[in-house]
């Protein structure tokens, strides 16, 4: 599937998008996989550390807010585009 990173997440991953081939899984499993790959700086933004995934950043699956789908239990397909948006505050 295609993963797109924005703003501060992009600074951590150092890529704006990438393809990841994984067996069918949930959004929660994907986030855990990405946290293991990109480490604590990344995890802070997606809140893996305290178990509250997504409370800081929002996740889109094919442009739709994951909270409008099945939340973290949303099942992903290989053709999906997942976008990860952290909040930004500059002005």
């Amino acid at each position: 599937m295609q993963i797109k990173y924005f703003a501060t997440l992009r600074d951590i991953t150092r890529v704006s998008e990438e393809h990841i081939s994984v067996p069918e899984q949930t959004l929660e499993e994907l986030i855990q996989f990405l946290c293991a790959r990109y480490g604590r700086s990344f995890a802070k933004w997606v809140s893996c550390e305290d178990g509250g995934f997504g409370s800081l950043s929002i996740f889109l699956i094919n442009g739709t807010d994951y909270r409008s789908l099945d939340g973290l239990q949303t099942r992903l397909k290989d053709s999906d585009v997942i976008s990860l948006f952290p909040p930004i505050a500059g002005g």
């Binding site: 703003a7 700086s41 800081l56 807010d65 909270r67 930004i88 505050a89 500059g90």
Partner: protein, 380 residues
Amino acid sequence: MSATFTQDEIYRYSRHLMIPEVGLDGQRKLKETSMLLVGAGGLGSPAAFYLAAAGVGRIGLVDDDVVDASNLQRQILHDTAHVGELKAESGKEKLLALNPYIEVNAISTCFNSESAAGIARDYDIILDCTDNFATRYLINDLCVLTGKPEVYGAIYRFEGQVSVFDSRRGPCYRCLFPTLPPPELSPSCSDAGVFGILPGVIGTMMATEAIKLALGIGSPLVGQLMIYDALETSFQRIAFPKQANCEVCGQTPSIKSLLDSTQSCGDATLFSLSPDERITPSDLAEALQKPVPPLLLDVRSPVEQQISSLENAVNIPLEQLSDRLDELDRQKEIVVFCRTGRRSARAVEILHSAGFPRVKNLTGGINAWVSQYQPGAFQY
């Protein structure tokens, strides 16, 4: 009593009066509308100019900051002659020069939980042009609690976001981002840098939404987040739902009054390090002469080293520090620095909580060091 116009005003606004969606009725609505811009910086600059030009009857500019030369790369409401002056006053002068037929209120006080309600009371629409998370949540809560529409804009380097929060008919900022990020995850433009024209695009879109709200035309960005990527020249519009369990606009809200936000103004109090955790440039100069000098840790981005640098410093950008602690010797004394001492203060906290015993923050950052010990090198 509805607003009236002089011949001069009619001529000034004539190109609006010729559009059916605005017309004389719409122009009258604009003149009768008041808008508060919280922040007269990157976003507030273009927004304020267009709102004034459009004939919004009363504009409030809140900002307790003064114009700095490093603002002028993007904050076009101010100019070289106004460096050192209050932004709200500098902005007021510019807006009235553009359009003397409107009223502009310069409010040079800190917008926090104590002052916010009083400042915003007499305005119809609030524009969030601030530069920090704490004030953004404060503005959101205020608008929800007082039933005002809010136009939101935010930027980071090459990316911008725009939305309209109106909890009477859609989601609010807390529905979108429920949790206030901790200070160490909140880089400002002065720490992160920003592509100067980006706030021009986003601030102008904010003004567009504000004018649409005042006129009651088109489809405002309620429940929609517009995301702009200047590098890719892409706009992405996403829908986000109102959250039934939102802490401020949900069915059983826990936030019923403004939360304390005194940390939102100024940056000195954000990270209070003890004297043991700080080192002045002169003490560092002395320490570097010792047989075992401290390890210098530069937490700026690599590109900043092209402007100024310290010899033998190790570079680990702040956003990567948590994942690269293994590269540092825990037994050594470490002096951390950045541009001004803000990012490095966060780094000191990260290192301390990771168990590094002897870590100090260079007060004033490399700018302070350069001014005393590297004549000819640049401050920025």
